[in-house]
Amino acid sequence: MSELNDAPGMQARREILKRAAWLLGGAISAPAALAVLQGCHQKTEPGVAAAAPKFLTAAELALVAEIAEIMIPKTNTSGARDAGVPAFIDLALDGLYPAEDQARYRAGLVEFETAARASGKPFLEQDEQARADFLHNALAVAVNSDRKPRPFILMTRELTLLGYFSSQVGITENMEYVAVPTAYHGCVPLSQMKKHVYWE
């Protein structure tokens, strides 16, 4: 069990959730499922170890981190985790969004996990292919919705891309980053460019 999950208050929180589930007649509600079942088993996310996450619980962060990593996995270039995306998303949710968006995000996260469990296993315990398929399907559904207000999975995607392309590895491994270009050239064949994408 991680230091993070041993933080004061965690035990009490789990107890409250367990009791809430019991009061509901033993049927574990979706939020309780997420908080209780994942709370103790998840290792601390890299990049967030030093400080407790600001907005997400450790369990929520674990789920979001995995979603981000499936979207942008480590290949010959860095993945979302390498780029510090999970910690970025946590801070961004805390600092950039009004309470209503935060609440919608949190509810959407629970919906996502609840839907994943229709297969019989929590998202994080499913095999790699099943996770990718489930995520891809969730994205496809969201992309084809009216997207207003922005659903959880597209908020996560947007923050994953933003976090990745605000990181040094994300930028420098995928683009040509020129801090001081010295000049603007308005029409350059891609064949003459160092990389096809320059940071701007």
Binding site: M71, G95, F165, A179, P181, A183, G186, C187
Partner: protein
């Protein structure tokens, strides 16, 4: 913008000059965020909820980010009253809004100076294009304005540094709208040094490095600001004393002398009051700021505000009519892109009510825009994941094009600001109340702005054309002006043709307050030219003993 010019001109002509700024000190080249890499900025450089809350007026512009928000004044701390939605966008620090202006620099034309008289709108300008033209030359030469010579009567050419490139899509768009619609597209004229200055008065300024981070402050001094250009010139004369954190809130008027003798000032931090005295006073606090200071300066001679015999002080507020942008996606051009980051875009000069064109409204508008290749944001609404997504990162996105119209707003007496003495800010100063809206002429113009944008984008064969029809709030273009207009007739204007207060000749107002009509061009260059001319006049009048 204008304050720096006044300081430079007055000190260079030998006047010991005190410069007061209500905000904190800023010195070239000390711009705290200017050299930060993207990964050194918090929140992916997106505006935080805290900033949205504190800078709630600035947030309406979409400009503030962690990289630049130090130049955007805290609105919660500096309240004003909007009787109608009005975006009063303030920059309380040395350098003011010249720190983060968009640097677009266009001359007003003879058509602009003559329009009011010809059409019976407002009052006539007391000055012709020919009278101000040499001062435009001076302002452009000193500031360094890049642009192309076009020979357009509605947009006179100036003393230009080399123009920026249009990109591949913009070049073809220029040809299409010229061939099919007879409209001109040019590269923006901007205060960025595309080549070394043609003078050696600003050794601290270097050429543009194509970083497009001007809004943070440029350590190369490559764009014009008061901090990078005019104040260093003033400093070098040895005649300037610059004092920050001093809020001038009253002009001191001496009834017996019939002159202003100085200004009354509060220290922004301690609240201590000081009076400063001078032979001649330049007010350059921005249009609303200056009119506020004058309205707040009452005396037995000026019971309705300093210099306000006409009753026009605080009235005739204008800005630029800007009802929302247009955009489209552009097919093709996939084998070309651009390198470097251009701090500029294209400009489509006014063509409505020019020559034989006649509309059901007066005046016209220009468009500012750019074409670009889409970045990673295009993946926000895509289901692509994993290695495939990462492969897609390696190629630039499709081209898109966007443009925004800036149109003239006519002067209406009803569009005004005043002072509410019953409500006070944290300094104990009364609150400014503003009430300005766009009216029939502007609303008719907005229809053309939207339709014409769609027409041009369609003519070029672009797809997925979007025309935004946001409500426009006066002030949002950050070109508010007109609150102390100049004119020949002291009964209808506050200033004379030299920017002197009609009723008190040793006070000059050279920020946007003096404007008699708004044109559709970005106005800063015009403020620079008029300020230089006014300073010249002030020094000549002092020599003659007239002030």
């Amino acid at each position: 913008m204008s304050g720096g010019w006044a300081a430079k001109e007055l000190t260079e002509k030998g006047l010991k000059t005190l410069v007061l700024d209500r905000g904190h000190m800023v010195r070239h080249p000390e711009y705290p965020t200017a050299l930060k890499d993207p990964w050194d900025l918090p929140f992916g450089n997106r505006i935080t909820q805290e900033t949205r809350k504190r800078k709630y007026v600035w947030s309406r512009t979409g400009y503030p980010t962690p990289a630049n928000e130090l130049w955007f004044t805290d609105d919660l701390d500096n309240p004003y009253v909007e009787e109608e939605p009005f975006d009063w966008l303030r920059a309380y620090h040395v350098g003011g809004r010249s720190m983060h202006w968009a640097r677009q620099s266009y001359r007003f034309s003879p058509m602009d100076f003559e329009g009011n008289a010809r059409e019976g709108v407002g009052i006539p300008w007391p000055i012709s294009y020919d009278e101000i033209a040499p001062w435009y030359d001076k302002a452009e030469t000193f500031a360094g304005i890049s642009g192309s010579v076009e020979g357009l009567p509605q947009l006179p050419d100036g003393k230009f540094l080399p123009p920026h490139d249009l990109n591949c899509v913009e070049v073809d768009f220029r040809k299409t709208i010229a061939d099919k619609l007879g409209r001109k597209l040019i590269i923006g004229r901007c205060a960025n040094l595309t080549a070394p200055l043609t003078h050696n008065e600003s050794p601290q300024r270097g050429t543009c490095q194509a970083r497009n981070m001007c809004i943070r402050g440029c350590p190369y001094g490559a764009y014009f600001s008061s901090v990078s250009a005019t104040l260093p010139s003033a400093e070098r004369t040895g005649n300037m004393t610059l004092v920050a954190d001093k809020i001038a809130y009253e002009v001191i008027y001496d009834n017996e002398k019939g002159k202003a003798t100085g200004v009354r000032v509060l220290d922004a931090k301690s609240g201590a009051q000081t009076d400063y005295f001078a032979k001649v006073i330049f007010l350059c606090a921005s249009s609303l700021g200056t009119a506020y200071l004058m309205l707040n300066s009452t005396s037995s001679r000026f019971p309705n505000g300093f210099g306000n015999d006409s009753g026009e002080l605080g009235h005739n507020i204008m800005d630029h009519n800007k009802p929302g942008g247009s955009s489209a996606s552009v097919d093709g051009y996939l084998d070309v892109a651009y390198t470097g980051r251009r701090p500029n875009g294209f400009y489509i000069p006014r063509y409505r009510n020019v020559g034989k064109d006649k509309r059901n409204y007066l005046r016209g508008f220009g468009y500012q825009g750019r074409a670009a290749r889409a970045g990673y944001g295009r993946f926000n609404d895509s289901a692509l994941i994993g290695a495939e997504l990462k492969q897609a990162f390696q190629e630039p996105g499709p081209w898109n094009i966007s443009m925004t119209a800036f149109g003239e707003i006519l002067p209406y007496h009803e569009n005004h600001m005043r002072i509410d003495r019953d409500r006070k800010d944290k300094h104990g100063l009364p609150l400014l109340v503003v009430n300005a809206v766009v009216r029939d002429n502007e609303l008719k113009m907005q229809e053309d702005m939207r339709n014409d944008a769609a027409e041009m984008l369609e003519a070029a064969g672009y797809k997925d054309i979007k025309v935004n029809s946001d409500d426009f709030h006066v002030g949002n273009s950050i070109h508010e002006m007109g609150t102390a207009r100049m004119g020949h007739d002291p009964k209808k204007s506050v200033l004379n043709k030299y920017n002197q207060v009609h009723a008190c000749k040793n006070v000059y107002v050279t920020d946007g307050s003096f404007m008699v009509s708004s044109g559709c061009q970005n106005p800063s260059l015009t403020y620079m030219a008029f300020t230089a001319r006014a300073a010249h006049h002030a020094v000549e009048e002092l020599k003659k003993g007239n002030l």
